[in-house]
């Protein structure tokens, strides 16, 4: 029953977004909304591995950029349409996720994090040297006229609304299934989980693949959004920092945490970019993250629960 309700809430969110589109607010709102929604997907996807399974991935830019560059390759090679780009971007990044899943056999804790960070650097170097997708110069996409809504900003905004709803619903159902309980067990103690019958390797591979898939999905529409992609923007360190900071601020143990974190922090960054300076948004992340780690290590969700219990 609860699953049905969650599904209905998802549909309602999409409906609300459509209504918003009907209102024809300032086009910049869609442009900014896209970024916030992109972060909802990134934070939720990151949290499947980082929050549920406890493996901190510093390589978010690698997955995001792999989604974006898979899209660029498919546009360049076949002129593939957006839905295909999103699916393919997700699948390729999911494969990379499966690969780093096998890393967890040997690398735990901070060593895993360093390896994922290195992965991002290696992949960026490869892309810089691959001229077919633009190399170091970057890739310029000339968009055809938007097929729906009459504007790419609105169309991409709606695409992101849909993708974010799907990502959150999937993360939520994983969290509440036997898989989520097994992941929580291995996060708490991997050795004990294995000895209690939890197939830890298989569950970790599932988590890294699913997490990678949705990070790639978040990156696939990126070329359409910016129309000019260069390695340094697709592999931006901001993605690594935000992917980690947003779930930490919202709370990592539930699906709601990354959503809350992404909406709050993502919106704050967008507002700060416009009203103060585009450099300030990283400062905001830093300050807020430090405050939360010190004062509310279980994030907003944990804080609310603690206050309610009193």
């Amino acid at each position: 029953m609860k699953t049905v309700r969650a599904f209905l809430v998802g549909v309602a969110v999409i409906g609300l977004a459509l209504l918003l589109v009907g209102l024809r607010v300032n086009p910049y709102a869609y442009f900014a909304g896209y970024v916030v929604l992109q972060y909802v997907i990134i934070a939720t996807a990151w949290n499947v591995l980082g929050g549920y399974a406890g493996y901190v991935n510093f390589g978010t830019p690698a997955f995001f950029a792999l989604g974006a560059y898979t899209a660029i390759f498919l546009i360049e090679a076949f002129g593939a349409p957006l839905p295909v780009l999103i699916l393919a971007g997700g699948l390729v990044a999911g494969l990379l996720g499966l690969g780093i899943g096998y890393l967890t056999l040997r690398l735990k804790g901070v060593f895993f994090s360093i390896a994922t960070f290195a992965l991002s650097v290696v992949l960026q170097t490869l892309i810089i040297n691959w001229d077919y997708v633009g190399g170091a110069k970057g890739y310029t996409l000339i968009r055809p006229p938007a097929p729906f809504f009459g504007s790419w900003a609105i169309l991409l905004f709606m695409v992101m609304v849909g993708l974010a709803v799907v990502t959150v619903l999937v993360a939520r159902s994983v969290e509440r299934s036997w898989i989520g309980r097994g992941l929580a067990a291995l996060r708490d103690n991997e050795e004990a989980a294995e000895c209690m019958g939890v197939p830890t390797l298989r569950l970790k591979l599932f988590a890294t693949t699913l997490s990678g898939f949705f990070l790639g999905v978040a990156g696939a529409p990126f070329p359409y959004y910016v129309t000019y992609v260069e390695p340094s923007s697709a592999f931006d360190l901001n993605y690594a920092v935000n992917a980690l900071a947003m779930p930490m601020i919202g709370g990592t143990t539930t699906w709601m945490g990354p959503v809350i974190g992404a909406v709050l922090l993502g919106t704050a960054q967008q507002v700060a970019t416009v009203t103060i300076s585009s450099e300030l948004n990283l400062l905001i992340v830093g300050v807020v993250l430090v405050l939360f780690v010190v004062l509310a290590p279980e994030g907003i969700v944990g804080l609310v629960r603690r206050l309610r219990r009193r």
Binding site: G182, D188, E194, G197
Partner: protein
Amino acid sequence: MSRPMADTLLEVDAISKRFGGFLALDRVSLQVRAGERLGLIGPNGSGKTTLINCISGALPTDGGRILFEGRDITALPAYQRTRLGIVRSFQIPKPFTSMTVLENLGIPLEYAAPARSHGAAAALDILRAIGLDAKAQLRPTGLTQIEMRKLELARAMAARPKLLISDEAMAGLSSAEVDDILAILLRLNESGITIIMIEHIMRAVMRFSQRVVVLDAGTRIAEGTPEEIVRNPAVEKAYLGE
């Protein structure tokens, strides 16, 4: 080597384990009969925990075979051995700290136990039998040392073991608490569970075990009834030196 008997539950056949240049286990063999209470003792560093890590699948072996109910399980990952019925508890309790005591039992019930024994009711039954039902809704961090040990045993029970390997479940407990844990283990054995007990507290091992195996420096140096073991000069030498 003696031939396996018809009711052999676990047979460890000449397994070795090497850590770099250090031979932690040197062709150790061991047979455990169904329903037996076996004590495994030896000085610190003799390879007891390594041996049970190999049996439970936490460590791969470097040679030798392990048979459970006649089936070769040497290559099986740990979680599959658990599902077959080999369950171990840890020397240092390793509870799932983000879950309540009840939820801790839910993991093995869901992942290891046969399908019919699922659910909170089954978990509560186990907690009641072990005397931890009043703490069902607490987080493990709020438990005392003995309660933590009991949780470790309760969680192992939730996996519905045929063979329970108890790794120093009593270290650091008071004498009354040792009796408490001992009584639980004896009850479990009466219900049909075979138990291997690794323990440093001699009073407990000798009272509990029907048979004792002694390890020293990675080899098996003695085997016999508790009475035989205490009189064995090789065992005395291993513990006290010459």
